[in-house]
């Protein structure tokens, strides 16, 4: 059963990685604006032909 020590260590390490990833996202401002990207994705990509229908 001493494998538990190793497994718990792994699980904690993994969890800490996720926490660190969240901190990184927070610090680089990825969570600052949660609304605009949801609108931006609906806009079409560049297409020169679609000029003023």
């Amino acid at each position: 059963m001493s494998i538990i020590y190793f497994l718990i260590g792994c699980s904690l390490l993994l969890a800490v990685c996720f926490l660190a990833a969240f901190f990184w996202a927070q610090r680089t401002g990825q969570n600052d604006d949660l609304h605009t990207p949801s609108m931006r994705i609906l806009l079409d990509d560049e297409d020169e032909n679609s000029r003023g229908k």
Binding site: F18, D32, D33, L43
Partner: protein, 796 residues
């Protein structure tokens, strides 16, 4: 896309206003004005017409805008506005009120197509901000702003820089604290499960390992996430205040110390997961309570109303200077639609100044040469020149801000329920804890300490601390949906206590175009011309409305003209004699009580009828007047009293109507009411109300467009929701009741826990179950109850 015609009306392709002329048309598209057409041409030249595909009529109307941006060449102004500058690029953030749809977003992020000197532009939709990085060697700030202006997105540049202030606020990393607490909560719970489910004697070696791990994980929770509670409790103790943070901090500390001792002495498993859960839920409550409206500012003062710069004449040459450099004896040039920033003497030009925002006077007033024009008025008509007689900060308008109501901190507000209760709660909690300690101490000191700590743990007012934030945030979102924006959650409780409402008149209960003329006289074209020619000589508001109503007729020569103040005018045009004015002047007897203001008309001794001026009050005014007698209503107007007869029907009697009130009078009036023990809610819209708004227990600024300037206040109400005000008041009372009730629920949980705790037999399992269960109960109860209450008040 085909031009949309709605019931015969042609709508402008750009802004959606009605096209009154077919003069402006390009490529088969109709525009309402030259400005809209220009925007279309700019976009079409740059192949950006997809702008119009995402939404119909996405643009802002361009009919009435006339602005100059040459002040943006002043280095001192530029440096205040930009975020960052090096030798190649400049980064600047603009607040653009017109951002409202996906077309705006799309176009503003394509600016580099119009001008390649722009490297990067990003829109923050909710904050209505545009972040631009550009090469300032190829494009200066003025050109950039003009470019934005040309495509119909004029940034709002004001002295009180809203953008920078907002960015500075979000620095307490609450989210990070929650993330840490949540992370630790999850892990500790997993590690604690074996203990709860029972560890066989075989695996007993794990127990100590789990315990140590738990302690390690708890350390960031206590010292990082929970730090704020210790700091706040300590500060409050030093100020001799017992607030809810004290028992919370005590609970966290006791939980941690007991966990550490139990684990290290191998006497128990400790309360690690209760501790992490507690901190996690508490922070969650804090997070919910903090609702921010990015596009609304509650802290505006005169600085955001005034322009950034003003044009002065220096040796006959016109140049822009920042407002802070404007001094006495400067000669300012003020154009159409510009605001006069300082008290000044009129030197040249025809001043017709709209003071509606400052004094509440609905109609522009005209000033003659040599007269003093007070700051805050908006010139309409031709350009005028004025000499400054008082610095900006000491003008009639801005000196109001020197009043103590503005310098005082906001500590006159009512105590919230939570603050009141937590004081007694803490005292009772400590009493129980110490009495259980002393009860067991003589017989069993271990049990005594166990009971003492258990009481502090179990009675930790987690549920109590959460009931207010969760109820209030649910209530806030209900208000939000109904276009009533509150500054913070404490305002809901203040709203519930209001027993006196003071209303401003112009702009608050009347709307922008508050009255319209009804022609009750049958006039021939010739007679209309006569009336027009006479009325145009008068600056009386009613005359102005009459000649506006009659429209641009040919003006005839008036040979004799005299005005009798307060009564009317007498005029002679050619052979015709005209008498226009009150019933007393025209008919010789005073008018019977009527609900409108009438102007009677007599031409050559023949009575022809009258013009009636009916005032339009906001829909729902009768609902608000129905609030009497439970709420006292007062009217406080800077205007003359000519609407007294129409207004009195909304109020109990004429003593409730107060006219000719200066901004200072308004403030003093609120103070008098407060001295009588009334809880006053002030509803106003202009700068003239700002003193009263600040002084009142609850200041509500009413506006027809939340992005427009509104004075500093506790809440901003959209004019369309004015009729819901009674419902808002009732709903706020409901939410307070919900808080009381959830307080009872949390007390019940505390009592259950205490019954275990005082005996000293609190097992970690019971604590670990009780804490989350009570929290979840409170959260679900408050949100469901608030929702139901809102439904009942028809706010959802």
């Amino acid at each position: 896309m085909i031009e949309r015609a709605i019931i015969g009306k042609t709508l402008c392709y750009h802004c959606g206003d009605e096209c009154l002329t077919e003069q402006y048309a390009v490529e088969g598209k109709q525009f309402c004005c030259h400005g809209c057409q220009t925007v279309y041409q700019v976009l079409s030249e740059n192949k950006l017409c997809r702008y119009y595909n995402y939404n119909d009529h996405p643009g802002a109307t361009r009919t009435r805008i006339d602005k100059r941006f040459d002040y943006l060449n002043e280095p001192s102004i530029v440096s205040e506005l930009i975020d960052y500058k090096d030798d190649r690029v400049t980064i600047v953030t603009f607040y653009i009120p017109h951002i409202h749809c996906s077309s705006c977003l799309w176009l503003l992020e394509q600016l580099n197509k119009i001008n390649p000197a722009i490297h990067y532009c990003r829109v923050d939709f909710l904050k209505k901000q545009l972040n631009i990085r550009f090469d300032h060697q190829k494009l200066n700030l003025q050109q950039l702003v003009e470019l934005l202006y040309d495509i119909g997105y004029e940034p709002l540049i004001s002295l009180q820089d809203i953008i920078k202030k907002q960015n500075a606020v979000n620095k307490d990393n609450l989210v990070s604290k929650i993330a840490v607490a949540g992370f630790c909560f999850g892990n500790v719970m997993l590690l604690s499960f074996p203990e709860y489910f029972g560890i066989t004697s075989l695996e007993h070696s794990f127990k100590y390992f789990f315990g140590i791990l738990n302690i390690l994980i708890c350390i960031p929770v206590v010292f990082y996430s929970g730090r704020g509670y210790f700091v706040s409790a300590w500060q409050n103790l030093r100020n001799k205040v017992l607030n809810i943070d004290f028992p919370l901090a005590l609970g966290i500390a006791v939980l941690f110390i007991r966990t550490v001792t139990e684990v290290l002495t191998k006497t128990g498993a400790g309360f690690a997961d209760t501790l992490c859960g507690l901190v996690f839920f508490l922070l969650l409550g804090k997070f919910v309570q903090k609702k921010t409206y990015h596009h609304i500012s509650f802290e505006r003062d005169y600085r955001s109303f005034f322009p950034v710069a003003v044009h002065i004449l220096d040796n006959g040459i016109e140049k822009p200077i920042p407002l802070s450099q404007l001094h006495i004896h400067h000669r300012m040039v003020i154009r159409h639609n510009e605001i006069i920033p300082a008290d000044a003497i009129l030197l040249k030009g025809d001043a017709l100044v709209d003071f509606s925002f400052v004094t509440g006077e609905a109609i522009p007033v005209s000033r003659t040469l040599g007269e003093i024009v007070y700051a805050g008025g908006r010139q309409t008509g031709e350009a005028i020149e004025l000499e400054v007689v008082k610095p900006v900060s000491q003008s009639y308008l801005t000196q109001l801000w020197n009043n103590e109501a503005f310098t005082r901190k906001q500590d006159n507000r009512m105590q919230t329920f939570n603050e009141k209760v937590s004081k007694y709660f803490t005292i009772v909690l400590l009493l129980i804890a110490f009495s259980s300690l002393f009860f067991w101490l003589p017989t069993d000191y271990k049990r005594g300490f166990a009971a003492f700590t258990a009481v502090l743990i179990v009675a930790c007012p987690c549920a109590l601390a959460l009931s207010t934030p969760f109820t209030m945030s649910a209530a806030l979102s209900v208000f939000d949906r109904n276009l009533f924006y509150l500054k913070n959650t404490a305002v809901v409780e203040q709203l519930a206590k209001v027993d006196t409402i003071v209303l401003d008149k112009t702009g608050t209960i009347t709307t922008g175009d508050s009255s319209y003329v009804k022609n009750e006289a049958s006039l021939t074209e010739e007679q209309k011309q006569l009336v027009y020619s006479v009325c145009i000589n008068s600056i009386h508001p009613l005359c102005r409305m009459i000649y506006h109503y009659l429209g641009g007729l040919e003006r005839l020569l008036v040979s004799k003209y005299s005005e009798i103040p307060g009564k009317g005018i007498l005029g002679t045009v050619g052979k015709h004699q005209l008498r226009i004015g009150s019933s007393k002047l025209v008919l010789g007897y005073p008018e019977r009580a009527v609900y409108s203001t009438n102007v009677h008309l007599l031409i050559d001794g023949l009575y022809l009828g009258y013009f009636a001026f009916e005032h339009h009050y906001r829909a729902g005014m009768e609902k608000i007047s129905a609030l009497e007698p439970s709420i006292n209503l007062h009217l406080l107007s800077g205007d003359q009293d000519h609407e007294r007869t129409e207004l009195v029907k909304f109020f109990k009697d004429t003593t409730r109507l107060h006219f000719n009130q200066s901004p200072q009078d308004k403030l003093d009036f609120i103070q008098t009411l407060q001295d009588n023990g009334d809880k006053v809610m002030m509803i106003g819209d202009g700068l003239n109300d700002s003193g009263a708004l600040k002084q009142s227990d609850l200041g509500v600024a009413i506006t027809d467009n939340v992005n427009n300037f509104s004075p500093g206040s506790d809440a901003i109400l959209d004019g369309r929701s004015f009729n819901k005000l009674p419902a808002f008041l009732r709903f706020s009372k409901d939410t307070v009741k919900i808080i009381y009730f959830s307080f009872l629920i949390s007390l019940t949980y505390n009592l259950i826990g205490l019954s275990y705790a005082v005996t000293g037999n609190l097992s970690p399992l019971i604590a670990a179950i009780l804490m989350p269960v009570s929290t979840v109960t409170i959260i679900s109860f408050t949100s469901i109850a608030t929702h139901l209450a809102a439904k009942q008040r028809k706010l959802l």
